[in-house]
């Protein structure tokens, strides 16, 4: 988990020390070396699953399928395939490893697309089916040796060095180190922040500009690639691969490693793999009491320590940000958040809604609404409960699809766009029930808000290139500046779930502001606030407006609305019944009727 990365880094150094110690001590014991090598192979696959399960909250009970694809690809290429003579043997091995990993990644991508359709138990079943189909196909394939699989797969060979025994141990743990490096970088980068936001609240993440569907697919692809990589080395190390070795029991073992070790991040997966690697020394023969003990231990551990072994060790550690710059950049903070590109929709209205309707079956929730917002003004949208106000917000930010009509933001027709695409244009949103990311601190929440301003990609994140670091620092600076402006800095390290109700509202505003929005949609911010909190909110909203942000506000507190609105629109039964300056709207007979009813 991103927040514990520093404590986790220390734990990783301890693990690295233990591995080196083990490698030296066990150098002459073939059985122990083998167990240690297996632990490394499983760790690579388990890290991928740990990210999927712990960081993205997606389950896969089919990881052995990818492991098998890697194992069979390398096995096939190193035995049955004919390589051109000019390719040296060591390169053959590396190319086969690469190809096996890429094939597994491609299938991970496919499974990711399938997984978008499911949640919970159904996702577990779908991934289980995937693994079962893969192993069934291996068993049926003549080219892959049918039920007996492939054998006589040669060891990797680098010159005179054969990757077996002790060399295999060090090679495998070297592979783990590379994977840990890449994975930790990814989690520290924008990709990790996207995962964390998505795990906490998918909808809130999406309206902050996080492409949640793509993030899930990335996680499945990554997990598939790592399982495939583990598989390639497995078959080269063992020299054989058969369908039973990559069956459902391996999928379940990987799942157990991750849960027992602690899902999320890399340390738990490695601990789980080490534990199970050691318990596997004796094999899983029937009529053996060890697997029974193992089963009891699994049950006991998940009940007593639901966050796994890593959870015990890392418990109570202060969380730290995914990425902390070495020193706060004072000049930048003083300058405030970055300004939007000057020509971005300079003339077009920030928001234009053109004859928009939304039908749910026979019910018309929004009925032919049209308006355009003046840039830099605060417009309130009022109306009785059920008038369609929140539905209209949803249509504007892409959470719901319009039945007819058009929504234009800064001159661009965004009808039918995904919420994250609309958010990327600079549309911020707060929710009626303040959807903060509960497991994240206030600062982390607000950093996530700056997602749309980040400029980096998955490759830079994986390699921790300067672009990735710069992007993270920039998001952090923006977040700090916004917290400072709203006087929330004292809450920066508080978990969002521990916040008082009024603070939740304001932190949500801060999160939306961190994206430096052109347009803010604020949904009933005053609901449930006391008088002093309302006064505070009023200041905040006026400050936001003063920054040149166009605000559309849904609010039931008429005093607040009348005090701060440049313009008020009234919605009743999905139709706009009044639109104008606050005073004029208050005097409008239809508005009075809508709110108070008419005398007959």
């Amino acid at each position: 988990m991103s927040g514990r990365l520093r404590a986790e880094a220390r734990l990783l150094w301890v693990i690295a020390g233990l591995v080196v110690l083990f490698g030296v001590v066990a150098a002459r014991d073939a059985t122990l070396l083998q167990a240690g090598t297996y632990a490394a192979i499983y760790a690579v696959a388990a890290i991928g699953l740990s990210i999927l399960l712990g960081n993205v909250a997606q389950i896969s009970v089919g990881q052995a399928g990818f492991f098998g694809i890697g194992a069979y690809t390398l096995g096939f290429l190193m035995t049955a395939a004919t390589w051109p003579a000019w390719i040296p043997v060591w390169l053959e091995f590396l190319l086969a490893t690469l190809l096996g990993t890429l094939l597994a990644a491609a299938l991970g991508l496919l499974l990711g697309f399938i997984a978008l359709r499911f949640r919970g138990h159904y996702l577990a079943m779908a991934t289980l089916a995937f693994g079962l189909i893969a192993v069934g196909l291996f068993r049926e394939s003549k080219a892959l040796g049918g039920a007996s699989g492939l054998d006589n797969i040669p060891f990797a060979q680098f010159g005179s060095l054969s990757i077996s025994g002790g060399a295999a141990f060090w090679y495998a743990w070297g592979m783990v180190a590379v994977v840990v490096f890449l994975t930790a970088n990814m989690l520290r980068g924008r990709t990790g922040r996207a995962f964390e936001a998505l795990r906490n609240d998918e909808l809130a993440a999406e309206v902050l500009g996080v492409p949640t569907r793509r993030a899930k697919i990335v996680a499945f692809t990554f997990a598939g690639a790592l399982a495939g990589l583990a598989g390639t080395f497995y078959s080269s190390y063992l020299g054989v691969v058969d369908p039973n070795a990559v069956g459902v029991s391996l999928s379940i073992d990987l799942l157990l490693m991750v849960v027992v070790g602690g899902a999320g991040g890399v340390a738990g997966a490695i601990l789980g793999a080490m534990l199970i690697g050691i318990s596997n020394i004796y094999g899983h023969n029937l009529e053996n009491w060890r697997p029974v003990i193992y089963g009891v231990a699994v049950i006991a551990i998940v009940i007593a320590f639901p966050r796994g072994l890593a959870g015990i060790i890392l418990r109570g550690r202060p969380r730290s940000l995914p990425l902390l710059p070495s020193a706060p950049d004072a000049a930048r903070v003083a300058a405030g958040p970055a300004t939007p590109a000057p020509n971005e929709g300079a003339t077009a209205p920030r928001l234009a809604v053109d004859n928009v309707s939304k039908r749910f079956g026979g019910l018309i929730a929004v009925d032919g609404v049209s308006f355009a917002l003046e840039t830099g003004r605060l417009t309130s949208l009022i109306g009785p409960n059920g008038a369609g106000k929140t539905t209209l917000f949803n249509l504007i930010c892409g959470v719901g699809r319009v039945s007819s009509g058009r929504v234009t933001i800064a001159g661009r027709d965004v009808t039918g766009w995904e919420p994250h695409q609309i958010a990327a244009l600079g549309v911020g949103r707060s929710f009626q029930n303040a959807r903060l990311f509960g497991d994240m601190t206030v600062l982390e929440n607000v950093v996530a808000g700056a997602y749309r301003l980040e400029r980096t990609n998955l490759a830079s994140d994986l390699l921790a290139l300067p672009a990735s670091r710069r992007s993270g620092r920039r998001a952090l600076d923006c977040a700090r500046a916004v917290l400072e402006r709203l006087d929330l800095t004292r809450l920066a390290n508080t978990y969002a779930r521990d916040l008082a109700f009024g603070d939740r509202r304001r932190v949500e505003l801060a999160r939306a502001l961190a994206a430096d929005p052109l347009l803010m949609l604020v949904d009933e911010p005053a609901a449930g606030l006391n008088a002093s909190e309302r006064a505070r909110l009023r200041e905040d909203l006026l400050a936001i407006r003063a920054d040149g942000v166009t605000v559309l506000l849904i609010e039931h507190d008429m005093r607040l609305v009348m005090q701060i609105s440049d313009r008020v629109m009234v919605l009743e039964f999905g139709r706009l019944i009044a639109d104008g300056a606050a005073g004029a709207v208050r005097a409008d007979a239809r508005v009075v009727a809508a709110y108070l009813g008419t005398a007959h």
Binding site: H121, Y122, M125, L256, L286, N288, V292, G295, P306
Partner: protein
């Protein structure tokens, strides 16, 4: 040709009865606790082995062993709920599901420790060592097949009566559908869940005993039985008891029809592809409700 087909369908219905009972058990536990029990197939094996012990060590008739194994399954189910599901569920459904996977290890290898790793024979319900076989129009009908299908029907009728016609059965359903509401009207929700799990495990033990004479009992078959049960439940509809039953029977028949003309191994990939296709095309299953899928 037609006789062969009928023969295979009959065999499929017999094996499928076992899958149907597993699917139904998975459904009952899922509905009561939101947990998918991966160990359901292992409890089938356990039931069969308990019946085997009653017959071979205690020299009881298999017809006496059947209610004994079922009752033992009920008691073991209560323990399973109390020791594994309830404590694990406090940390979430995933944790509880993982705990049921731990249970698979305990039971799978525990069976082998106690009864050995080789499957054991269970006497046929009529005729002991050799089953009574009738010939009807070129189709061989074994007495055990009649027993299995008949006892499945009897179990279903009993379940239906309990859940639909008795106050306590209705209370259990209420506790599963809306725990808070059930608590407010005075239902002991924890006990209702325990009873649900116990019924599911009793069904598994019952299934293991009636199928046992045909399949032998023991060995490592439990995982495969669990998975076929899942497939049946998904195909029929995870939230529909009738769907689960029909789905289990369907998987049994399909498996027989595929295995006969082709090789032994082809049935599995086809059955699992069916599972994935079903999930993609109609995830709620044939008889399930759409609402269940996005939970």
């Amino acid at each position: 040709m037609l006789q062969q087909l009928l023969q295979l369908v009959l065999a499929g219905l017999t094996v499928g009865s076992g899958y149907a009972l597993v699917a139904l058990g998975i459904h009952i536990i899922l509905r009561a606790t939101r947990v998918i029990n991966f160990a359901q197939g292992e409890f089938v094996i356990l039931g069969g082995l308990l019946a085997y012990t009653a017959v071979s060590a205690c020299h009881l008739s298999v017809l006496v062993a059947l209610p004994l194994a079922t009752a033992a399954g009920f008691a073991i189910g209560l323990l399973f709920e109390r020791l594994v599901i309830r404590p694990a569920e406090r940390s979430g459904e995933l944790t509880a599901t993982i705990a049921t996977i731990g249970t698979v290890y305990v039971l799978l290898y525990g069976h082998a420790l106690i009864w050995g790793s080789l499957p054991q024979p269970l006497p046929f319900f009529s005729g002991g060592d050799r089953d009574v076989v009738w010939h009807a129009g070129g189709v061989e009908i074994a007495a055990q097949q009649i027993w299995v299908v008949g006892l499945l029907a009897a179990a279903l009728a009993a379940l239906w009566f309990f859940f639909e016609r008795t106050t306590y059965g209705k209370a259990i359903r209420a506790a599963a559908d809306n725990p808070l509401g059930a608590r407010l009207v005075g239902i002991d929700v924890d006990r209702a869940r325990a009873i649900s799990v116990a019924i599911a495990i009793a069904l598994a033990a019952f299934g293991g005993t009636i199928i046992g004479p045909i399949t032998l009992v023991g060995g490592a078959a439990g995982v495969a039985i669990s998975i076929k049960g899942f497939v049946g439940a998904i195909v029929g509809g995870l939230d529909s008891p009738i769907g689960c039953t029909l789905g289990g029977l369907f998987v049994g028949v399909l498996e027989q029809l595929l295995e006969a003309p082709f090789s032994y191994g082809i049935a599995d990939p086809v059955v699992y592809s069916l599972l994935l296709a079903m999930l993609l095309v109609r995830p709620q299953g044939l008889l399930g409700s759409r609402r269940a899928v996005r939970d």
